[in-house]
Amino acid sequence: MKNFAYINDQPYAFEPGETILSFVRRHKGEDSIPTLCDAPNLEAFGSCRVCSVDVALEQDGKTKTLASCHTPIAHGQYIYPDSRSIRKLRKNIIELVVTDHPLDCLTCEVNGNCELQTVAGQVGITGIRYPEGENHLDRKKDNSHPYMVSDLSKCINCYRCVRACDEVQGEFVLSMAGRGFDSKIIKGMDQTFFDSDCVSCGACAQACPTAAITDVFQSKSNRVTEKTRTTCTYCGVGCNLEVASAGDEVLSITAPYDAEVNSGHTCVKGRYAFQFYDHPDRLRSPLIRKDGEFVKATWEEAYDLIESKIREYKSGYGPDFLAGISSSRCTNEENYLMQKFMRAVVGTNNIDGCARVCHSPTALGMQRTFGTGAATNSIEDLYHTECILLIGANPTEAHPVTGARIKQVVMKGVPLIVLDPRKTELAKYAQHHLALRPGTNVAVLNMMMHYIWKDGLIDQSFIEHRTEGFDQFVEEISKLDVDEMSRISGVSKEEARAAAITYGKAARAMSFHGLGVTEHYQGTFTVMQIANLAMLTGNIGKKGVGVNPLRGQNNVQGSADMGVQPHQGAGYLDITQPEVQQRYSTFYGVDVPKHVGFKIPEMFDAAMNGKLKMIWIIGEDVVQTDPNTQKVIKALESTDFVVVQELFMTETAKYADVVLPGASFLEKSGTFTNGERRVQRVNQVLKPIGNAKADGQIIIDMMQRLGYDQPDYTPDGMLEEISQIVPFFAGIKWDNLGKQGKQWPVREDGQDTEILHADSFKRGKGYFEFHPFEESAEVEENQKEFPYILTTNRNLVHYNCGAMTRRTGNVQIISEDVLFIHPEDAARHFIEEGDLVCLESARGKVDIKAHVSDEVRPGVVSTTFHFPEIMVNNITSDVHDSEAMCPEYKVVSVRMRKSKGKYAIKGEKRVGEAVSEVRG
């Protein structure tokens, strides 16, 4: 017998490599050995020594005291986890700890949920025998931050916060200063939380075993609450959250350690930015515009009006004069319902969603190359890869948990290649940062593929067995004019070749891409080049490889899966194919429309041409976030009847005729699908606020009014229906999703899929298709007059149009959009930090505050569009991806000058004012 050891003289099997702590706890329960410095998501550290056990080599033999958390168990050892001497040792250690810890447990916020308190009880502390000595009980509380709080008089120096900041978030904001008895936790250079570089992820607060670091929501308090496990509403990472609530109030949010997606971690948005849910600005009742003013209405009145308009336009003009925009913030079930409503009830394929403006080129490009438009692998594969290629994505800001994981892997030595015009946080850690000119992804990827071919790094066997079109492709790639591509992109041949070799030589290379790939004139082609690069090197169909889009919104994957696209129905079936039409018609019980509908930009064009009478927009602020704001406004003004279903009075809602109050993710149940195809449960925490309704029920109410027999909204009922029409949802049932969800395709027996294309592609063979670089019309036409390129991006604390995050404490962290300008460019225009800059494109002008930074390269400026005060999209262009019509947010030809303030709309506003403005 091997791998056996004894606990109190009884034999038990152990797993090779496990520690004594894990061995004993596995067999004897979590409480069998107390610990203080150990935490589920941190490496063993060995500071508290409370986990010490006696170890002997023979029964009742000579024992040695060892810390169980970092000592591996060995065959034949005798472990005595609670011998008399060990119990005494633990008690004595804790007695020492409480000589320097306040004894005000009754008034401490973690009373009843304090690990020190628990362990003190377990070891039987009844008093302190030491004469009174020095202590640190007079340390001051740090209340500087909107979320993070520290009271280091309660610190026991277990380093869990320091390690969480290092090992989980990778931010190094926390450390210890001084030494010995006087050592203490510091933030930055012994600053406050607010003044430090803290990113407010809250990992330290969650890790802290006492109340030394907590948050304003008292997330570790033991208040009587209900806990609901759900899925985050922000980005496509899909963090699992545990929401603590009491009655109609959300108290706090934490990240469960057992979540596969986020393993006890989440970001400032997921953990702390939830106060929007009952913000005074929340829409609590339907509104109908009467004489230019919104007036409160009952649901019946609103429904009556909408119903009559739909009937009127449908019979008067035909169903194609109506369009719907569904929301990636809503559940799969709601998205399914909205597209079903448009197709089966209204009778048009004019249904689209925000994927249009983000990852539509990904879906299309990957479908063309592989047959499936979704991430090929899982985030977990990061731990199996040997090279990461990150293109046009800034995950430490936009997908913080995935970004933190990438950073962890890269810091430990996995080479990272970053293609990004901006020096993003991860670019600083990269082995190769190819800081290309915005809009030249195709040029650089073609260069890389050229060198991979030239240096003989292609996977001949994979190409032979799994792909087609290679010969033609290689003919093009081999004769690529690399000098020209280098000149165009600003990336030297040497840099491109070095990066190509790093990628090509790795046994497993994994790519991630974001909107810096898709939101371009050549977005779809860039996606196809990334896919080609993966096929060229055999990086498909196994662990640690693949093409992995970082999906932007929480459910943007799901909305497309559910058929929120004008050309594909639920499950990506081509609605122009007769057998597909037959299938949908049979399933929906009505004849479905047969021709492709409008994409969002086409809807706006149609509106301005009098071809659209009504549009129903759910949870998308097209005015603030779609390009060329003035055009969007004109389109909405040209549409007879605009219905906006929202949480807040957004810029778009202001143009509505009827506003319907929808429900936030806390107020309904359903599923979200994250960027790795993982369908996860969203569980209702609260009733909808005020008179708001779950969005799915609103759609169903309208379906029923229009005579379609759709049962009321229940997540299990909806999933049952969806599983019958969406092939890759066949095995997804509400009850079998469990805590971790399932990654589609899910077979009928419930088996899910971590890695796509393991043996074959959806389309049979992977398809190589070469596309040469082409300059965007925006640059071609405007670069003479507008010589700078503006590229837009995201920041960590705000989310998209900011409707939610601007109504939380996050505005105290970042209160405005700023323009990043390289120091050389700033000097050329005599612009200094904080100056107002007038930024002008062929569409218009905006005034925006300057931030001089070398994060952008000369000739390029960048900003975010989280704040309606600036409305950067007033100047973004009409150019779209040539294939998928995704707008080119990333390349805007602009010129700039120091502003006299004429266009300073609200540039000088301070935080408080900005909030009241929004509230007003």
Partner: protein, 571 residues
């Protein structure tokens, strides 16, 4: 169910180990290699005026991609780097030997005529235990009569800095009569080294049974073998020249007088393990040693005996000196590694052992100066010749540092197994005044009452069997009229002051122990015997490293042998 871990153990390319330190910081520091060393860069920042320091810290952190907290955390750890010590102009030794010799009050008083109280700091042991009255001024150490010439000194006359002490030996000398005394002999030996297969050299070292002289007595052969077996192109040999034990100056002797043996010993270790980087981590308290070492390395460079391809053999080895910044705990090998990386020198957990994952997460051998300096003898004469010296389990020789209580203070080399009485009488010439006990082996070594002298031989087993510790074999004499309770207070003070603060028992226990002793000395408190016993058990059983784990030994010795003297301080 799939494993839900933040960082699965399988994370490539690291081995599935836990570190107890920041792997990330090790890697990030290692990205810059030894050439641009974060620790040295942090030390540079310490001298920057307070107003500019923040910006410099930010820039440094940005360059190394670490946090400002990491830089600040390291800066505030070391005596020489702490912001509050930046105004210090002169440092008075407060080591055990100077304390027992009672010379330092006078040194303080004399310095007080030339420096303000704020300008006078402390350093713990300048290694001038043979003549005491030690202080550090303007980058140099002074002792003995130098304080009498303080007037000249502050006016620029530095001639009184050099110290002299006796050397001698009992049995066959290995270290004090070393063969290599310059580049010439060095080259001859190097040629012999590269003519021998690494495995054969290793076998000789294993056969020598040489055990580490830093305190733990671990066989160096096993360590080298472990490191040799590790895969990886980059490996390090670290010479632990952070001899912080008050009372010991044997490493100082070797660095200043036998540097060639030390350097060549490192090169042998590199040859055997496949390491091509040798780091000498030398105490900042030993400026002269650093200088001698620098000059020797330069001479080796001039003779082409270090570099990428030495003598055309394909064997490459480079030396790098890192100046320590005043933290006793850096003598602990994992704290030392953290220190070189610029991390806070806190003790790491084991496993992984440094031979598996040491400096910058690479396989690393850390050995004491005295251990490495013995390797050239083994190469020259063979492992058996070395094993013939000393006793069966403690082979070879041991350096002993005798303090000024002896008639002939000095640095002596004795074969292991030599009776302690011979060392005291034949080499030391007996005591100059009444001595009741000796602390042998540093502050964590045992307190040996003079009544036990005849029962002890100088070897690991004799000492440990009798309940003492050979350690560094430094001898600090406690005068007959020196109150033992004061000495215990001093030990706890030292232990608390030098605790890294990582593990709970040491951080809190040494402090509470010091408070108990101090209050007892001041008559404010009678010690609770059970409580003290519990405290000592807790420190010994629970501490992460030998610092907290070691302090109970001398305390227990004192309680056992000086019970009557200590009785009045107990309840």
């Amino acid at each position: 169910m799939r494993v839900a871990r933040w960082m699965p153990r399988s994370c490539a390319p690291l081995k599935p180990n836990q570190g107890g330190m920041s792997k990330n910081l090790s890697e990030l520091s290692g990205r810059k290699g030894l050439g641009n060393n974060l620790f040295e860069r942090i030390a540079e920042v310490s001298a920057v005026p307070e107003g500019d320091k923040g910006l410099r810290i930010e820039k440094l952190a940005e360059e190394f991609l670490v946090g400002t907290a990491n830089v600040h955390g390291s800066l505030t750890f070391y005596d020489f780097l702490r912001p509050e010590n930046q105004g210090k102009k002169v440092y008075v030794c407060n080591g055990s030997a100077c304390l027992c010799a009672r010379t330092q009050e006078k040194v303080h008083e004399k310095l007080g005529h030339h420096f303000s109280a704020d300008e006078i700091g402390h350093m713990t042991c300048l290694g001038r235990c043979h003549e005491n009255s030690a202080f550090h001024y303007d980058g140099k150490n002074y002792s003995g009569h130098a304080i009498e010439h303080i007037e000249d000194l502050v006016h620029g006359d530095r001639k009184n800095g050099l110290d002299e002490y006796r050397t001698g030996h009992i049995g066959n000398p290995v270290l004090t009569r070393a063969r290599i005394q310059g580049p010439g002999a060095y080259q001859e030996m190097l040629e012999k080294l590269v003519d021998t297969a690494p495995d054969d050299v290793l076998n000789e070292i294993i056969a020598s049974k040489l055990r580490g002289r830093g305190g733990a007595g671990f066989p160096i052969g096993l360590k080298l073998e472990g490191c040799r077996k590790e895969a990886g192109e980059t490996k390090f040999i670290i010479c632990n020249a952070d001899e912080g034990d008050p009372g010991a100056y044997s490493d100082r002797y070797l660095l200043e007088k036998q540097i060639w043996s030390v350097l060549f010993g490192m090169q042998i270790a590199g040859y055997v393990t496949g390491a091509s980087h040798g780091v000498l981590y030398i105490r900042g308290e030993y400026p002269e040693a650093i200088q001698v070492c620098q000059e020797a390395i330069q001479a080796l460079h001039n003779h082409g005996l270090v570099g990428g391809d030495i003598l055309g053999t394909g064997f490459g080895f480079e030396f790098r000196i890192i100046k320590a910044q005043g933290a006793y705990i850096c003598g602990e090998e994992t704290a030392l590694i953290n220190s070189i990386e610029g991390q806070r020198p806190e003790v790491r957990i084991r496993p992984p052992y440094p031979t598996q994952q040491g400096l910058f997460n690479k396989p690393t051998v850390v050995n004491n100066v005295e251990t490495l300096a013995a390797l050239p003898f083994i190469l020259e004469h063979g492992g058996a010749a070395y094993a013939d010296l000393g006793t069966d389990k403690s082979s070879g020789t041991k350096l002993m540092s005798l303090d000024s209580a002896f008639r002939r203070p000095g640095l002596y080399e004795v074969e292991m197994g030599t009776p302690l009485r011979d060392v005291i009488d034949l080499l030391g010439g007996g005591f100059r005044y009444s001595v009741k006990a000796m602390q042998i082996g540093g502050p964590l070594g045992g307190i040996v009452p003079v009544s036990e002298i005849d029962n002890l031989n100088v070897d690991f087993e004799s000492f440990s069997n009798a309940g003492f510790l050979l350690g560094h074999a430094s001898v600090v004499c406690i005068p007959g009229d020196f109150p033992m309770i004061r000495y215990l207070e001093h030990l706890f003070d030292f232990a608390a002051y030098e605790s890294c603060g990582k593990c709970f028992p040491c951080r809190l226990g040494t402090k509470r122990g010091h408070e108990m002793m101090k209050k007892a000395v001041n008559g404010e408190y009678k010690i609770d015997r059970t409580l003290l016993s519990d405290l000592l058990d807790t420190l010994e059983q629970g501490s992460l490293c030998a610092h907290g784990g070691g302090i109970p030994l001398p305390v227990r010795n004192a309680l056992a042998y000086f019970e009557a003297e200590l009785q009045p301080y107990f309840q």
